[in-house]
Amino acid sequence: MTTTILHAGELVEDNWTVIEDGRTEVEIAGGKVIVTLARWRAERETLLAAHSAVGVLVPNTTDIEAIYAEISDRALIALQFPIFTDGRALSQAVVLRKRLGFRGELRAMGDVIQDLVFWLGRCGFDSIVPRKDQNLEACRAALGELRVAYQAAADDHTPVWVRRRGRVAAPH
């Protein structure tokens, strides 16, 4: 059974499979898989030999900068939201995109509700897996919930103090 996710602003069928720790990779041999950071470290060569692509799921407590060298060449990095109010992965995402220059697919997984989607988009997630009960079309629309922003995150916004440069006078 495939899952529909948000990718690059559109609803698409997901072609990645998450392999939980403890499961063998035989069942999905040949496909694109996402494994935990721990498993990636332990079984890197085996995983690469068995699958066309291997993405890595990083816990939200990991210092993303410290381990980046181990995953910088991955086509996909997945970050976790154990509950939608836990924003640690938002900082990991911004650091990945803006400081470390990661250009691959950046995926948000876990307790992802419609009302988190907008903030994910601004922090550089281009791949979002909504929680099973969420309205997918509403999630897609949520990416554009607010159209202006004061600051830049890992997105296309220009900081407002930069946008205002060159304006002559305040309205007094």
Partner: protein
């Protein structure tokens, strides 16, 4: 006053529509309560005992007359005819109806008011000196910097889901009038001998459980780096703040668990990394960026002193009521011929901080006529007319007095700071308002108040400490003991330059004992002090806890002795 341009307006308008859709989904049963809760909090909406409470942000305490008129309209249309000023310079409404809140927010947006990040685990409204721009002891006006930071943290996506609430307080004067070090971050504007402006950053303050004062992190962050340094602190907090226990989730706990050296190293390292990356370039403030915001806070068109000066002491000599008000509620202004007027929200039999629709309207008219259309809210739950010409003082006094806003008690024993307590708040363990009023009645006469002199009594109805009991000279904390309201007393707290966390004096007092207990403490002070110039807090610091403790529990000692 900062004035919105099309960017600010678009943001606030779109935000109202976002919340309108969230409210609609909630009311339609499409959004569970425990998810909606986090969304409504980030729009200022808090569930209280009887109704939702809407907290409206007043950025660094600045209001203008159009906003006051709108507030009069709002409290009549959506509430019971009054609003409440808080210790964070905000306004709270106690009785809005959830289904009306999107319309209410849309009306507020018309006058640059909103509830964005007024509650919830995010960066809260920034507080600052209510005398910014007019204080005699000010070296740098903090308002432009508050506004720059306000914009940076407003709806910042990376910092929208923090471990816990996060507060900034600013000061640019010799005296810290905004209790800055009770915040997660205190920013003090400083100027080096060579003229360079910068920020002295303190981090890790917070009241509530385990109250702490913010500790110095960096003595001088350059003026261009306000946002970079703030980003470093926020990111460190977002990464390392505890999320396993709500009572240990403030940044002060990270500081306590790590120790200051490790904590400082983490923030400084993040700051250095930001500076070395594309983020550092984006966050760098150019002089023109600061100047552009500074234009929003122009020097008012003051009249020459010769035109507006009058013989204030002479006028006061002819009217005892006016004299009392001048002495207690009027302060010097940096411009000759002008004075700062405090508006007391602590009239007898009024709830501390409450302001009625009629008072909002009167304040709008008075500020328009006599103070360049502006009003400020203070940390002490009072208001300030910052720019009143001396020649207008008597008229301002009469007009304030006509709406019960001229009680001459600023800084005195009846100028009690209090949270809403159990009467409204869903978190409270005990009442605050009634205790404040009981204490008030014991010192009702002005002579008694003047005899006692400056003193800060603060009351919180629970551990969360919205009434800042930890930094009151006499702090009162309501606790629940088997369903009864009891009150713990702390002494020696202070919020300003001499900031200190009060010490608990001993066992709690029952509801019907607390006001008498406070009276005994104050009676003790009057007997212990060296002379009339020694204030309560100075006296306490000299003699210590023991003589006050003996006073507070003297009845008990007698009982034991008997």
């Amino acid at each position: 006053m900062y004035r919105y341009d099309e960017i600010d307006r678009a943001l606030v308008t779109q935000r109202v529509e976002q919340f309108r859709d969230q409210t609609r989904r909630y009311l339609a049963g499409q959004l569970p309560e425990d998810e909606f809760r986090h969304l409504r909090l980030r729009n200022g909406l808090y569930q209280q005992r009887f109704a939702p409470m809407l907290r409206i942000s007043v950025p660094y305490g600045l209001l203008e007359s159009a906003q006051l008129r709108k507030m009069a309209h709002i409290v009549r249309k959506y509430d019971k005819g009054y609003g409440h000023f808080t210790t964070r310079q905000n306004i709270q409404l106690n009785w809005p109806k959830l289904e009306q809140v999107p319309d209410l927010l849309a009306e507020l947006a018309e006058v640059q008011l909103h509830g964005i990040q007024a509650c919830g685990n995010d960066t809260r409204n920034i507080t600052s000196d209510h005398l910014a721009g007019v204080a005699v002891d000010e070296h740098i006006d903090p308002r432009p910097y508050c506004e720059l930071l306000r914009q940076y943290v407003a709806l910042h996506p990376e910092f929208y889901w923090l471990p816990r609430k996060f507060k900034f307080g600013f000061s640019g004067a010799a005296a810290d009038r905004a209790a800055t070090r009770t915040n997660d971050v205190a920013v003090h504007l400083v100027r080096r001998p060579n003229g360079a402006i910068g920020y002295r950053f303190f981090v890790g303050g917070g009241l509530g459980r385990q109250p702490m004062l913010a500790q110095e992190m960096n003595p001088f962050v350059p003026e261009s780096d306000l946002l970079s340094y703030a980003c470093a602190i926020l990111r460190t907090f977002n990464r390392f703040g505890r999320r396993d226990n709500i009572h240990k989730a403030r940044i002060k706990i990270v500081l306590r668990e790590w120790g200051i050296e490790r904590f400082r190293a983490a923030i400084e390292e993040e700051y250095a990394r930001i500076k070395a990356s594309i983020e550092g370039e984006e966050l760098l403030l150019l002089p023109e960026d600061i100047e552009r915001i500074r234009w929003h806070f122009p020097t008012p068109a003051y009249r020459p002193a010769a035109e507006v000066s009058v013989d204030v002491p002479g006028l006061a000599a002819r009217d005892a009521g006016f004299a009392a008000w001048i002495k207690r509620n009027v302060r010097p202004h940096k411009v000759p011929g002008y004075r700062v007027v405090f508006v007391s929200l602590k009239a007898p039999d009024h709830v501390a901080g409450d302001c009625t629709a009629e008072q909002f309207e009167a304040l709008a008219a008075i500020s328009d006529a006599y103070s360049f259309g502006e009003l400020r809210s203070t940390y002490d739950q009072n208001l300030v007319l910052a720019d009143v010409a001396e020649r207008d003082l008597q008229e301002v006094w009469r007009k304030l007095d006509a709406v019960k806003l001229a009680t001459p008690n600023i800084g005195l024993v009846t100028d009690i700071v209090s949270c809403p307590g159990l009467d409204f708040c869903g978190l409270a363990n005990a009442g605050s308002i009634g205790v404040a009023q009981d204490i008030y009645r014991r010192f009702d006469t002005l002579d008694a108040q003047y005899e006692i002199g400056p003193i800060r009594i603060t009351i919180s109805g629970c551990m969360n400490g919205c009434g800042h009991h930890s930094v009151g000279h006499i702090g009162i904390l309501g606790v629940d003991k088997h369903g009864e309201e009891w009150y713990q007393v702390t002494l020696g707290g202070a919020p300003g330059n001499d900031a200190a966390i009060g010490e608990r004096i001993g066992r709690a007092l029952a509801r019907d004992e607390i006001a008498a207990g406070v009276e005994r403490l104050i009676q003790g002070y009057l007997e212990l002090r060296v002379d009339e110039d020694e204030t309560f807090i100075e006296c306490y610091r000299r003699v210590g806890m023991a003589p006050f403790k003996a006073r507070l529990y003297e009845n008990e000692a007698e009982a034991v002795a008997a």
